[in-house]
């Protein structure tokens, strides 16, 4: 299959679908369109730009690689944090508490005298692990539900659509609180919680692009040749639907990292003394006295977290433009 086959950028061929039937059906269709539009637009992505030309889209650019470099550094640091030559993040360091940044402690020490640099390095572990796991979970569960619903249509589609609708009816942080409130706050539970948040948006995207592809000739051809449903879904639809989903991975991860940070900030993320997370570090130094006298305790994690989320958003948005996902969604 060539790249051209995979790309359905052509809105006249498939984007509009067949001429909408009159009455209820077309209205339903429009409503779905709006709902998805609402989702796409409410995600924290600046919208596609009408003034931007196609040539720009096809180039990733220097700043993209800068963002990727930062993400790679973060991933490396997260993976090998215990082996890196940094101080023990849970033990009191050499200096006193609330020491300003120095040659010994690059980011200073916090209220308990722990090394902020080392804690920031270790904090990357939970943030990225939760973010990565959550988006993979969302893609596997939401993606398969969305493809199956979009392919078989009918009752199943309605049921899955209803389930997504219900999941989306909770503001995400509230749903996360509902789950973490009742369970032990282990790494797995927190990751699963945020993964569940990702199911419905990813599922809607998968469903929408499946609807587009299911009407195309190669699917009809496969069916005529006698392919079974399973084969059509796995061999024909999946490779096409994975592209828009994959292009949005980094953007989804940015949302997941922020969600974990918010939970940690509220004290509802992974529990335990050695579970260090950026959100927790920020709230630790956010008391008025600490903020006044030892600003570095919060500001370093704030800056690192901002740069990471910015890189995820920026690289993710570039990839989204590169693959022209917006046209695929309808």
């Amino acid at each position: 299959m060539t790249a051209d086959d995979r790309k359905t950028g052509n809105p006249t061929a498939s984007g509009e679908g067949p001429v909408p039937r009159k009455g209820r059906a077309s209205r339903e269709r429009l409503l779905w369109r709006f709902r998805i539009l609402r989702l796409v637009r409410s995600s924290r992505v600046p919208d596609d730009d009408p003034t931007e030309d196609a040539a720009v889209r096809r180039r990733l650019g220097f700043s993209f690689w800068l963002a990727v470099a930062w993400l790679l550094i973060m991933a490396f640091v997260a993976a090998f944090a215990p082996m890196l030559p940094v101080a023990d993040p849970t033990k009191v360091a050499f200096g006193g508490p609330r020491e300003p940044p120095s040659a010994d402690a690059w980011f200073g020490t916090d209220a308990l005298g722990r090394d902020v640099f080392s804690r920031t390095v270790h904090g990357a572990r939970i943030s990225l692990a939760v973010g990565g796991f959550a988006i993979v979970f969302g893609m596997v569960v939401g993606g398969s539900l969305g493809i199956v619903a979009g392919y078989f249509r009918g009752r199943l589609d309605q049921a899955v659509g209803f389930a997504f609708f219900v999941l989306l009816s909770f503001p995400s942080l509230v749903l996360a609180i509902l789950i973490t409130a009742t369970l032990d706050r282990s790494l797995l539970v927190v990751s699963l919680t945020i993964g569940i948040l990702a199911v419905a948006p990813v599922g809607l995207l998968a469903r929408a692009s499946t609807l587009v592809f299911a009407e195309r000739e190669f699917v009809a051809a496969a069916r005529v040749l006698g392919a079974r449903h399973g084969r059509i879904i796995v061999r024909e639809l999946l490779p096409n639907v994975v592209i828009p989903m994959g292009a949005l991975t980094l953007l989804g991860m940015a949302i997941a990292v922020v969600a974990e940070g918010s939970l940690a900030f509220l004290g509802l993320s992974v529990a335990g003394e050695d579970a260090i997370s950026w959100g927790k570090m920020i709230v630790d130094g956010a008391g008025l006295r600490d903020l006044q006298n030892a600003t570095h305790v919060t500001m370093f994690p704030v800056v690192v977290m901002f740069l990471t989320v910015l890189s995820l958003n920026f690289a993710g948005d570039r990839i989204r433009q590169y693959f022209d996902v917006k046209e695929l969604a309808f």
């Binding site: 209820r24 924290r44 003034t51 219900v166 009816s169 973490t180 900030f265 948005d317």
Partner: protein
């Protein structure tokens, strides 16, 4: 049109039931509410004691532990299966009874009534801030699209969209309340003026990222609108640019912003949990976090339900609004 509305209302009711049932069973099945009411007594094998198989270790005969447990079970309907409890609970909700807090036996409805106004004021102010910033910002950016200001604002809005709420809140608190002391650092709820003034920073924290996303949408739509024939016509008539912008072009360009309005309110509610925590606002968000930490099951459940139902109804209204805004949805 009538049939359309009826269908939407049926869907609304179904979603409300599903949301409440999901929330209720999650709270009941994942945790044991009995533990939260009576503590360690929940582990007592009362059936064994009644049958005489296990020795009753209660010292004081007047208040047997098993009686306490039984009373708690009866009070909170904990001796019934979950579906029955759900029906009872929904029945109570319908009569305005949200249950009583495990912590201090206060009616939950009273807790909500006390905390809700602060959160509502915060949300309204945040929306005002975001629209107040986004409309002029978007208009200027679209008016001179791809010039220096527009390019700069693209970068700025991208940056704003990447700051987590809590990080922005902490930075604003540090700069504007502690460093330059423009705004109070502590919440002052004694009079309305002080309340509104101390809500400015929280509202800005919530509203700025939203303003950035509104600005992107408005700019995109405005650029498209400004290329339409009727705008050229207005310009040819010699109308002043400001009048063209605000009387002719702005209104048809607001569609995307309104589209996102419903969803963004949900995001704001989530954000308000965090922001209330930073700025010490005694609202719904702070209450739910405290309740979660204390395992105060009825309060958590009631607030989650309140928020989710508000969100569902709001999205329902936005769904209906489309049919007024876009004739294609209405057309037969």
């Amino acid at each position: 049109m009538a049939r359309f509305v009826v269908r939407r209302v049926v869907l609304l009711v179904a979603v409300l039931f599903a949301v409440t049932f999901l929330g209720f069973s999650a709270m009941n099945l994942l945790g044991d509410p009995l533990v939260n009411v009576v503590g360690v007594l929940a582990e007592l094998d009362c059936e064994g004691i009644e049958a005489g198989l296990v020795e009753d270790t209660t010292v004081d005969a007047a208040s047997r532990d098993c009686d306490t447990v039984a009373a708690a079970k009866a009070q909170y309907h904990l001796d019934q299966p979950v579906p029955v409890r759900y029906v009872l609970w929904v029945g109570d909700l319908a009569t305005g009874d949200f249950g009583t807090s495990f912590q201090n036996d206060q009616p939950v409805s009273q807790v909500i009534r006390e905390k809700l106004p602060e959160t509502l004021i915060l949300l309204v102010m945040a929306q005002i801030v975001s629209l107040g910033v986004a409309i002029p910002w978007g208009v200027i950016a679209a008016y001179r699209a791809n010039r220096a200001f527009d390019r700069g604002s693209t970068v700025a809005s991208f940056g704003l969209l990447s700051v987590p709420n809590f990080a922005l809140g902490v930075v604003l608190l540090y700069l504007l309340a502690l460093r330059w002391q423009v705004f109070p650092s502590a919440y002052e709820g004694d009079n309305l003026g002080g309340l509104v003034f101390s809500m400015v920073l929280p509202a800005v924290t919530l509203g700025l990222p939203l303003a950035a996303s509104y600005q992107r949408l408005l700019r995109t739509d405005l650029i498209t609108t400004l290329q339409e024939d009727f705008v050229h016509m207005a310009r040819a008539k010699g109308l002043p640019p400001l009048r063209i912008m605000f009387r002719h072009a702005l209104r048809p360009s607001m569609f995307s912003v309104i589209t996102v309005f419903g969803v963004s309110t949900g995001a704001l509610i989530g954000g308000s949990l965090v922001v209330e925590q930073i700025f010490g606002i005694p609202g719904i968000g702070r209450e739910i976090v405290t309740a979660v930490v204390r395992d105060d099951f009825p309060v958590v459940l009631a607030i989650v339900m309140l928020v989710a139902c508000t969100f569902v109804v709001l999205n329902f209204v936005v769904d209906l609004l489309y049919s007024w805004l876009d004739p294609r949805v209405r057309a037969r």
